[in-house]
């Protein structure tokens, strides 16, 4: 029920979309902390400014992350939110749960915290919003006993996430959830104990639709793709046409490579596969008629991040195609190579993508001993300012003379 002391927040309890204020009130029924948060938030709405102090370092034993410390600047009036720390709990891959599992987490959080959560945080963790410094270790202990562990924060590996992939999608080019679980387990130490110049994120999507937005926000983006041809069921194409899909307008004209042709008379669709870049569009439009190829794997892209502070970066193609099969040795060796180089050369708070842009892709490839590939760039350089290894030049000259 609305509260007369929160006239502004009250206005956010109306309307068809689920109300976070209503959620705060639910928690407030049993949690003083939650009740106090409502009062502080109302004050922020009045003042048009946040009332949390610059975070301090808190945590649990032997871990360097997983908790975000938070203190109120209204602690005097609202002692209940003097502390309001967040605990990041590593979600199960693909965010699949049983009701039993979820209730366990609720029980723990009702006992140790505010009862407020984010399902989920934008990195993917289960976010337990708001507890005190004293409760951190006990909460962790309870979670751990129940089989849960913390997610990442600080200059560490961040909690990997993935799309539901083969669990519920016909387009997944490999087992996204298995890879996500495997990497998370393999790199527990990197996840819990910050040791790098800055954060590092993995995100895994089963196909180019990229349902976890990995290409925009993961230092290492793993996106499924295939190398052979799109499979076409001609009868099903004709069926789409009969059922009113305007194949010319919806597919042919929208194909980015203009590599499709459609004969309206015979209702036959043809794809020049050598020009197709597997953008998924036509398959998305006619999922019953067009199917991804069968030689499947993933493209690895490096360096995606938000704009702070050199400007945002979309992942850059590093490995056009890699088979994704357990135990993912090739992938892990590559990643560890990159971490070593970044760790050695990265400045404080420099993401790997920023480092690559600073020293140049050419230097980076040399360092991790990879051949340059045309797929790594949209086009070759358009300026004539390139370097030559003077020793190689000398050899070259000698060889021509010899």
């Amino acid at each position: 029920m609305p509260d007369k002391e929160t006239p502004l927040l009250n206005q956010l309890e109306t309307g068809p979309w689920p109300s976070f204020v209503a959620e705060l009130r639910k928690a407030a029924k049993t949690s003083e902390m939650a009740a106090a948060v409502i009062t502080q938030l109302e004050q922020s709405y009045v003042d048009r400014i946040g009332h949390w102090k610059h975070g301090g370092i808190v945590g649990v034993r032997t871990y360097g992350g997983g908790v975000i410390g938070r203190y109120s600047d209204m602690a005097e009036e609202l002692p209940a939110v003097a502390h309001f720390h967040t605990i990041r709990v590593n979600q199960p891959a693909g965010w699949f749960y049983t009701t039993e599992a979820l209730r366990t987490i609720c029980d723990i959080w009702d006992e140790h915290g505010s009862g407020l959560t984010n399902m989920h945080g934008s990195t993917g963790d289960i976010i337990l919003l708001g507890t005190t410094s004293e409760e951190l270790q006990p909460t962790f202990n309870a979670l751990s006993d129940a089989g849960y562990d913390l997610g990442g924060s600080g200059s560490a590996l961040r909690t990997p996430s993935c799309c539901c992939g083969e669990a519920r999608c016909e387009w997944s080019c490999f087992d996204t959830m298995d890879l996500c679980q495997d990497l998370t387990m393999e790199y527990q130490d990197e996840l819990h104990r910050p040791m790098w110049p800055y954060k590092f994120k993995f995100k895994i999507s089963g196909c180019p639709n990229d349902c976890v937005a990995s290409i925009a926000r993961s230092d290492m983006s793993i996106i499924g793709t295939w190398r052979d041809d799109i499979r076409i069921d001609d009868a099903a194409v004709a069926e789409y046409a009969d059922n009113g899909t305007d194949i010319m307008e919806e597919c042919v004209f929208m194909c980015p490579t203009r590599c499709m042709r459609y004969d309206a008379a015979s209702k036959k669709l043809t794809i020049q596969n050598s020009e197709c870049t597997r953008c998924m569009h036509c398959i998305n439009v006619m999922p019953k008629a067009l199917f991804i190829g069968e030689d499947r794997g993933a493209t690895l892209l490096i360096g995606a991040k938000a704009p702070i502070v050199e400007g945002a970066i979309l992942g850059h193609v590093l490995v056009p195609f890699m088979k994704m099969e357990s135990p993912y040795t090739e992938l892990k060796e590559l990643v560890e190579n990159i971490w070593d180089w970044w760790d050695e050369n990265g400045k404080m708070r420099e993401r790997v993508g920023e480092l690559i842009n600073r020293v140049g892709m050419r230097e980076f490839l040399k360092a991790i001993d990879m051949e340059p590939l045309i797929q790594m760039v949209n086009y070759p350089r358009d300026n004539p300012f390139y370097f030559w290894d003077q020793e190689k030049v000398a050899e070259d000259i000698a060889s021509r003379k010899g």
Binding site: K29, F84, N90, S161, R168, Q181, A306, A312
Partner: protein
Amino acid sequence: MGEQYYGKTDIGPPDFKQFLPPIIKNNYGKWKYHEILKPGVMVHVAEGGDKLFTVRQGSGRLIATESIREYCEIADKYCDGYLRFTSRHNVEYLLSDESKVQPLLDDLAGRNLPVGGTGNGITSIVHTQGWVHCHTPATDASGPVKAVMDELFEYFVEMKLPGKLRIALACCLNMCGAVHCSDIAILGIHRKPPHIMDDAVHKSCEVPNVVAACPTFAIRPNPKEKTVAVNQDKCMYCGNCYTMCPGMPLADPDGDGISIWVGGKVSNTRSGPAFSKLAIPYIPNNPPRWPETVAAIKTIVDCYAKGAKKHERVGEWIARIGWENFFKETGFSFTPQHIDDFKHAQASYRSTTQFRW
């Protein structure tokens, strides 16, 4: 005091396999195609013919354990206790029994829990903490999200847009929501340089790191006072200094506000991934319902709904009609802030006679 107990470390998350319903275990990697039966309701058909029904329910993301328990109660009733969350924070009920779909929908309707978010429509807004938990916000997160979703609700429960339309909100330039590639991005911004609290700087900041944190070299050390000074003309209010130093807050009730960005996308479909571009540089913070922000977004959605071809995302629609027409149709004004002057500005300058009137 005796030996204290500490939980086991580095055990990682529970293995997802124990959380998969039998129908998924049996058809794992063997799905053939899917169909969206109605808004929020999908069926995935396996090669062998098995059918998995998914009902997607909107959630505010910021939820109390009481609500999670409610979802569990529902999942027990219709899904043998199996459910999941999506990458955009919606709940997905996983059913193997088609006959339970309609009852579930009726039940959810009775609880005013919205079903939708699939296909060519709007799904939940990816967002961040704002005034609820963070220390650097330039606006709130949950409030604007609630206000916008109330306004755009019809597009969540119906699939009547030309294509998918993804909205995200980040309350400061750190962009935790990774909003930089959204069809519509709502971004909290500051308009005033940091306020230097000399002794806080002195007490709790490493001046060299603070100076180094500024991308525009606006920060000079002030060794005498053991603090720093900011060149106001060089500062573009990114807030990176405050992240490094509590003594340099930027938050200001009147300086802060919201900027609107459009035309970004993540998927590799058609035009490929793209950054969102600036549509409106500043809208004041107007809690509790940010009416100007909501109106601006409504305008964009309406123009898009009217003008885009089927399957076109916002950015693809704009690319086709031209940014000229985007500003014309929305009535937004083109300001000096719209012209890039950061690192790669040159790439954005038009070097062709191809444009619209």
